[in-house]
């Protein structure tokens, strides 16, 4: 009950325009100030500090830095050329290009928000100029980030694996197929919208084989990266949480030595921009640490889990119900916060019900990451709408068909676990 009131208080602070991080922080502090709380106030501060002291969390700043380095290293424009060559002939060309670009970047970037922000800066202006509605542009670029977040590496899966004690290597490999499915589903939805609105292709003909080969060649080192990443993890050169540091090193080597486009000044620039992004995103994660403690202390997730679990005998029904709950919660609360709060609670629940935690991880991460793209609270939505000056109302209306595509993919993942589990079982053996 008290946690519900605090959640309302945090949302209230957000509505009056307090920065999101502070809204969460102030609301949590209120809990510790209440006379009924027997924990000392300093515990709030301790939880804030402690939430920064987790090794897997280091992947967050590292992959933010990778994102900024890629723009200057020449990787992004080459990927963009490749995506444009392969998908530019389709109806709604620029939109399809953006989805394919998300899939390509997915192999390097681990963050939905970083991908959405980068694409809004590169493709947002041109799409609106081409006559795409602002709402559709914003919604598409934001949801495209979901593809990036599902294809390995993935910050969300790292956090989930860390908190739920699930193999991050298996989670990564399991993300490949759902990532491809999301790409296809969103491309179909986009094709349907583009047809109704007559959004034009970029090129008037299919690419020639020679053009595709040239584009692949130009972006060879960038495409190679995810392969190298999986190999590095598979052969124990680095752990999945260290992969971010190697991604930084790789981007530096490719940008400075191979493409020779990355100057020292650009590296420092990327570092400075990353520090600012880290300051914004990590500060939210840090202050959420205090909020998470309140929810744990009040045993909210246990109560909810007990209520849910007693009711189900079928795995599919249980998964659908938990998914509905995650989707609802994900719309309201920042994705990282949910992962922090619910992973340790839900993983034992679903494992007890006989569901593979790798399978559930992909479902959970897809839903809560998608929650960041929906109103009322969504970091991806805030970011993209902020960059494109788009109203939340237009964004929400245009999001609906794309949301339908995402939820269809999730439903398929729930009903056919083998689609998700086939690859990890094949590559890393059954567990």
């Amino acid at each position: 009950m008290i946690s519900f009131l605090l959640l309302c208080l945090a949302l209230g602070f957000m509505v009056i325009g307090m920065p999101v991080a502070f809204a969460i922080g102030v609301a949590s502090l209120v809990y510790f100030l209440l006379p009924t709380t027997f924990m000392p106030d300093a515990t709030a501060v301790q939880r804030i500090i402690a939430s920064s002291q987790s090794f897997p969390l280091l992947a967050v700043p590292l992959f933010i830095l990778v994102g900024h380095l890629m723009n200057g290293s020449g990787i992004t424009p080459r990927m963009m050329t490749l995506a444009s060559t392969v998908a530019g002939w389709m109806r709604g060309g620029l939109a399809q290009v953006s989805l394919l670009l998300s899939a390509l970047m997915g192999g390097i970037s681990g963050s939905a928000v970083a991908d959405a922000a980068m694409q809004s800066r590169i493709l947002g202006g041109p799409m609106i100029k081409e006559g795409y509605s602002k709402g559709f542009t914003a919604a598409l670029l934001s949801v495209g980030g979901l593809i990036t977040a599902t294809i390995p590496p993935s910050l969300g899966l790292i956090l989930y694996g860390f908190l739920g004690e699930v193999s991050i290597g298996r989670l990564f490999i399991a993300g490949i197929v759902p990532g491809v499915m999301l790409t296809i589903a969103l491309m179909i939805a986009t094709a349907w919208i583009a047809k109704r609105r007559d959004y034009k292709p970029v090129h008037d003909r299919l690419p020639t084989f020679r053009e595709v080969i040239a584009a692949v060649k130009a972006s060879f080192w960038a495409i190679l990266f995810p392969v190298w990443l999986i190999v590095g993890i598979r052969f124990g050169i680095f752990t999945p949480s260290e992969a971010g540091a190697f991604a930084v090193a790789y981007a530096l080597v490719v940008g400075m030595l191979i493409y020779r486009e990355l100057s020292l000044a650009a590296v420092i620039d990327a570092l400075l921009m990353s520090v600012r992004d880290i300051g914004m995103i990590m500060f939210i994660i840090l202050l959420s640490g205090a909020f998470g403690y309140v929810i744990t202390f009040e045993r909210v997730p246990q109560t909810l889990a007990e209520l849910t679990l007693g009711l189900f005998s079928s795995k599919v029904a249980l998964l659908f119900t938990i998914s509905a709950f995650l989707l609802f919660f994900g719309m309201l609360v920042e994705a990282t916060v949910i992962v922090m709060l619910l992973t340790p609670i839900l993983v034992p629940v679903i494992t007890a019900a006989g569901i593979d935690p790798v399978h559930f991880g992909l479902i959970m991460m897809t839903l809560v990451t998608f929650g960041g793209m929906t109103p009322p609270v969504g970091v991806s939505m805030f970011t993209v709408c902020g960059i494109l000056n788009c109203s939340y109302k237009d964004y929400t209306v245009e999001l609906l068909p794309l949301a339908a595509a995402v939820l269809t993919v999730v439903a398929i993942m729930i009903c056919f676990p083998d689609i998700v589990m086939f690859l990890p079982n094949l590559m890393m053996g059954g567990h």
Partner: protein, 163 residues
């Protein structure tokens, strides 16, 4: 005077982030060639919290922390002033009280060790009060320099129309 402070803070923050990357790399490379650096992960986490706090302060300085501005944008300046005052007062109170608690926590638990490196965990804790102090300073400077209306939002934002 402030210019030097601002520039120094940026340089330090960039150095801290670079240090974080190097610490993680050293840890991983060291382990895979058989010479582990047990303190690597700890140093990385220590540098990370300092990076976060300085980064958060840089965002306060430019008024760019993520927020929902829909309601305040719909109001006339007088209404906005009321909302912003409320926000700024809460934020300053939060930073001052939590910063002070963090300072006490760091000082009273200086004996706590981080782990493999044997360094005091107080260095980790200290990042928070220092960050809070910097943010209070930046917030006050914004109120003085940009007025209450732009204390928590960037002045360059041209008329976002939101929900």
């Amino acid at each position: 005077m402030f210019k030097i402070l601002d520039r120094t803070e940026e340089i330090v923050a960039v150095a801290l982030l670079a240090g974080t990357v190097i610490a993680v790399l050293m840890g991983a490379i060291g382990r895979s060639i058989g010479y582990p650096v047990p303190a690597g992960p700890e140093i990385a986490q220590l540098l990370l919290i300092w990076t976060c706090m300085l980064g958060a302060d840089l965002m306060i300085r430019s008024g760019e922390h993520i927020r929902i501005s829909a309601l305040s944008d719909a109001l006339p300046p007088s209404g906005r002033r009321v909302l912003h005052s409320l926000c700024v007062i809460c934020m300053l109170g939060f930073l001052a009280y939590c910063g002070w608690l963090g300072w006490k926590l760091a000082m009273s638990n200086w004996a706590r060790e981080m782990g493999a490196s044997g360094l005091s965990y107080g260095w980790v804790t200290l990042a928070f009060p220092v960050g809070c102090a910097l943010m209070i300073l930046s917030l006050l400077r914004r109120i003085v320099g940009h007025g209450l209306l732009y204390a928590i939002e960037p002045e360059t934002r041209d008329g976002e129309q939101l929900l």
